[in-house]
């Protein structure tokens, strides 16, 4: 039997009614994740994206979630309070169906990491930079089964998506060719 273990659940609460559409969250997210840190910024690289249609009063900050190699069998479209949201508006996936949550140059997937940092940030920076309280941060503890978690290294996540896109053989050939160049 697996033992019970405490786990911290990190939640960003999005109050879309309070969003003013300014995209400060996108700015600081992309700056924080630049290398070196804050050396550049580019909202297209942000792991939070504000889906905005001002004239339809639609403001939805969405976080980058899991990478998926294949899109869903169909798409969804929500109408809430008479407002029709665009296809897949609430979906967090970095998915072949759209440009969202991909590095604009390489196409590699992006995923929100809650601003993991050393020393840790008090709260994700998008939350810190949202002075309008559209984003707030919550933490709670939960008991979960203690299972050995295999955590892929960052590079593997990237490679995996390349393998999905081009096949393992092509990626291996490329790596071989690159190593021969030096």
């Amino acid at each position: 039997m697996a033992e019970k273990k405490k786990k911290i659940i990190k939640t960003i609460k999005v109050d879309a009614d309070k969003c003013n559409g300014c995209r400060a969250c996108e700015v600081v997210c992309s700056a924080f994740h630049a290398a070196p840190k804050y050396s550049s910024n580019n909202p297209a690289r942000s792991r939070i994206q504000v889906i905005r249609h001002p004239l339809k009063d639609i403001y939805v900050p969405v976080y980058a979630g899991e990478y998926t190699a294949a899109e869903c069998m169909g798409r969804d479209k929500y109408v809430i309070d008479g407002k029709e949201y665009e296809e897949c508006a609430f979906c967090r996936a970095s998915c072949p169906s759209r440009d969202l949550f991909k590095e604009p140059d390489s196409g590699l997937p992006l995923k929100c990491d809650m601003c993991e940092d050393d020393p840790p940030q008090e709260e994700p920076l998008c939350v810190k930079w949202c002075l309008n309280d559209a984003l707030t941060y919550e933490e709670r503890e939960e008991e979960v089964d203690d299972e050995e978690e295999v955590k892929l290294e960052d590079m593997e996540v990237g490679l995996e998506s390349l393998v999905d896109k081009f096949g393992l053989q092509k990626v291996m050939d490329t790596v071989t060719r690159m190593s021969q160049k030096d």
Partner: protein, 669 residues
């Protein structure tokens, strides 16, 4: 590597349809910073005074500010520069919104248009892909409508679009350029865009903007955000509500309009209604705002909510900012219901919210006084609201009397004649002003109205309280944490300044003090306009988060240009003087530098002369308002001197005699 800026401009020749990506000289950035500064340099170099606003050689420059696209909060302004059809001087209207950062992310600092397109086009910029596209299907479309159609056509909701409506297409002298929740409205730059055959510029960018010293820069940004939070929680006591906080005056938030409606003038900037505001009005107007206002909204990377989406019943939603909330209402002697409704049409047509209502009120005044007659208004409805809608339509289509009015009150009055000039009473340098008429001369405001080259009071005022605090306790409380002052002397001026008695207006602050206050206020606006910073977080409100002490650090760590307060002040003076030089070369002189005659009841011609004399000296200008050879040399603007001597504007000797005929202008009355 270039920091903060991209180092590239787009040069578009509309006559040939050619598009070039041109690398810029980093030394120009050091000298003129960017935005307005480098725009002025380009205009000086390439648009000599012989070029008229609608000549193909006139340029239309869309520039992002130097720090746009960086994480600096509120830095999102586009500075649009051209020669104004209304004033025939340099125009540099600006807009917030989302366009300038997007241009930076696409890899450009400026888009420079020359020539004229043979047919209506729009420019599409998508990173390295830049193309002129046919816009014939957008002809006559509203500005917001155009933006939506382009986004659909390009299938990209993230494209930022700056566009003109019918007014721009028809070269109305007060046509605006609309974009997101903002517009560049003043001085008719939309008309130049229309004249060049550009319906819109759509831009999308996904590239990086770099900063030179990241850790230092983000720390400065964090300090600014912290201070904004502090200021939002600590409004300034003892001043009018709209002056207590940051941002533009929070017109979209407030319900109480007693101050504006009872202190600003109604109609053609003449009628004051001292007892207008009462409970019934308050209730009705509050209801209107609450019903029509869907959401308070912001510009790019800014927490202030100075705008709102407005949905008038039965009309399309549009976005409004600031004082256009009341300009139509008050010009037409109507109510907020009407004001918010007609502003929807005005936004789609793309016209300036200050000039337009005033032009219409002016026309109706001429009608009431028999200078214009029924023949000029065939089919005009009899109610005021109906008349405004009718006139707006005629103006943007340039039909009948609308064709005359479309040139603004100054030119329309000239063309109409028969004494119409008397009714075009509220212009400076041919440009319509806020409908404000006061009693006692305010020497600080006198200087700002007279010499401001944006020709719009909100674009020069700020920083220093508009009125003295009645008690010493209030004054001391105000100066206690007033670290934004460039010099401690400003605190003392405020401490000594009294509402009545010896140390009160118009003789206190003294002439020299007034000059220093105005110079400080103007300096802050000019920094903002080069960096692309919104005045609402810097030059406009009291105690702003950006000021002369942290700006040099922002520029150093952001753009990698070594900067301190002295060097920054010198750079501002350089391009501020260059703006003046452009206007001087176009004929502007001391005689043009005067507020409307009726702006104040109590005038002081001797004092006003002394104010102007002293201010000109402080600025390094001669008695006619022309920069002297000595000051031009100090600023590294010898090329301006040489040109002025060649044109006979300066004589070539340093001790130019003051020109009496020009200053005599002030002595009448």
């Amino acid at each position: 590597m270039r920091y903060a800026e991209t180092g590239f401009n787009l040069e578009i020749d509309l006559s040939r349809g050619s598009i070039e990506r041109v690398e810029t000289d980093p030394r120009e950035t050091e000298l003129y910073l960017g935005g307005l500064g480098t725009n002025a340099k380009i205009l000086w170099d390439r648009v000599p005074p012989e070029i008229k606003p609608f000549d193909p050689e006139n340029l239309l420059i869309f520039s992002a500010g130097l720090l746009c696209g960086t994480p600096a909060t509120g830095c999102n302004r586009t500075i649009v520069t051209t020669i104004s059809p209304q004033t025939e001087l340099m125009a540099f209207s600006m807009m917030g919104g989302f366009w300038a950062p997007e241009l930076k992310y696409a890899g450009y600092d400026k888009v420079i248009f020359r020539g004229k397109s043979p047919k209506l086009v729009y420019l599409y910029i998508n990173n390295d892909k830049v193309e002129l596209r046919d816009a014939s299907h957008l002809q006559g479309k509203g500005s917001l409508e155009t933006a939506e159609l382009i986004r659909q056509e390009l299938q990209d909701p993230k494209v930022q679009v700056a566009s003109i409506g019918l007014a721009g297409e028809n070269r109305v002298y007060f046509a605006s350029i609309e974009q997101g929740r903002s517009s560049a409205s003043r001085l008719g730059i939309g008309a130049v865009m229309g004249d060049k055959g550009i319906k819109a510029i759509a831009v999308r960018g996904t590239k990086d903007i770099n900063v030179a010293r990241p850790a230092e820069f983000i720390e400065l940004c964090n300090e600014v955000r912290e201070y904004i939070k502090f200021r939002n929680e600590n409004p300034i006591p003892g001043v009018m509500t709209i002056l207590q906080g940051l941002g533009s005056p929070q017109e979209m938030k407030v319900h109480d309009e007693k101050w504006h409606t009872e202190n600003f003038m109604w109609g053609n900037a003449r009628v004051r209604r001292r007892d207008f505001w009462n409970e019934e009005v308050a209730q009705k107007w509050s209801e209107t705002l609450d019903t029509m206002r869907t959401r308070l909204i912001s510009c790019f990377n800014c927490p202030m909510e100075c705008g709102a989406t407005i949905s008038p019943p039965g009309l399309l939603t549009y976005m409004m900012k600031c004082f256009s909330k009341l300009t139509y209402t008050m010009a037409a002697f109507s109510d907020l219901d009407f004001g918010l409704g007609i502003a929807q049409s005005a936004t789609e047509y793309g016209v300036d919210g200050f000039s337009t209502p005033q032009v219409m009120a002016f026309a109706l005044e001429l009608y009431e006084n028999g200078i214009l007659t029924d023949d000029d208004f065939p089919g005009m409805p009899s109610d005021n609201e109906g008349r405004f809608y009718w006139l707006l339509d005629r103006i943007v289509r340039r039909e009948g009397i609308g064709d005359v009015l479309a040139n603004g009150t100054y030119w329309a009055a000239k063309e109409i004649g028969k004494g119409a000039e008397e009714y075009a009473h509220n212009t400076i340098k041919k440009h319509e002003q806020l409908p404000l008429k006061l009693s006692m001369l305010n020497p600080i405001y006198f200087l700002m109205y007279a010499t401001g080259e944006k020709i719009n009071i909100t674009q020069i005022e700020g920083q220093f309280p508009q009125a003295p605090f009645p008690t010493m306790e209030e004054r001391e409380a105000f100066v206690k944490d007033w670290f934004q002052v460039p010099d401690e002397k400003f605190k003392q001026i405020l401490l000594d300044w009294e509402p009545r008695g010896e140390k009160s207006m118009p003789y206190y602050p003294t002439v020299q003090m007034c000059c220093d206050i105005v110079d400080w206020q103007e300096t802050m606006h000019y920094i903002d306009d080069a960096l692309g910073m919104c005045a609402g977080l810097s030059s406009f409100p009291l105690k702003p988060p950006y000021h002369i002490h942290n700006y040099p650090k922002f520029i150093s760590s952001g753009a990698g240009i070594d900067m301190d307060e002295a060097k920054l002040t010198h750079a501002i003076k350089r391009y501020r003087t260059l703006v003046r030089a452009i206007n001087i070369s176009r004929g502007m002189r001391r005689k043009d530098e005067k507020p409307p005659e009726d702006h104040w009841k109590k005038r002081f011609p001797e004092l006003e002369k002394e104010l102007l004399d002293t201010y000109y000296t402080l600025k390094g200008w001669n008695n006619d308002g022309i920069p002297t050879q000595e000051s031009l040399h100090e600023l590294g603007l010898d090329y301006v001197s040489e040109d002025f001597v060649k044109r006979g504007i300066l004589t070539g000797s340093d001790d130019e005699p003051p020109k009496e005929e020009a200053s005599a202008e002030k002595k009448k009355q």
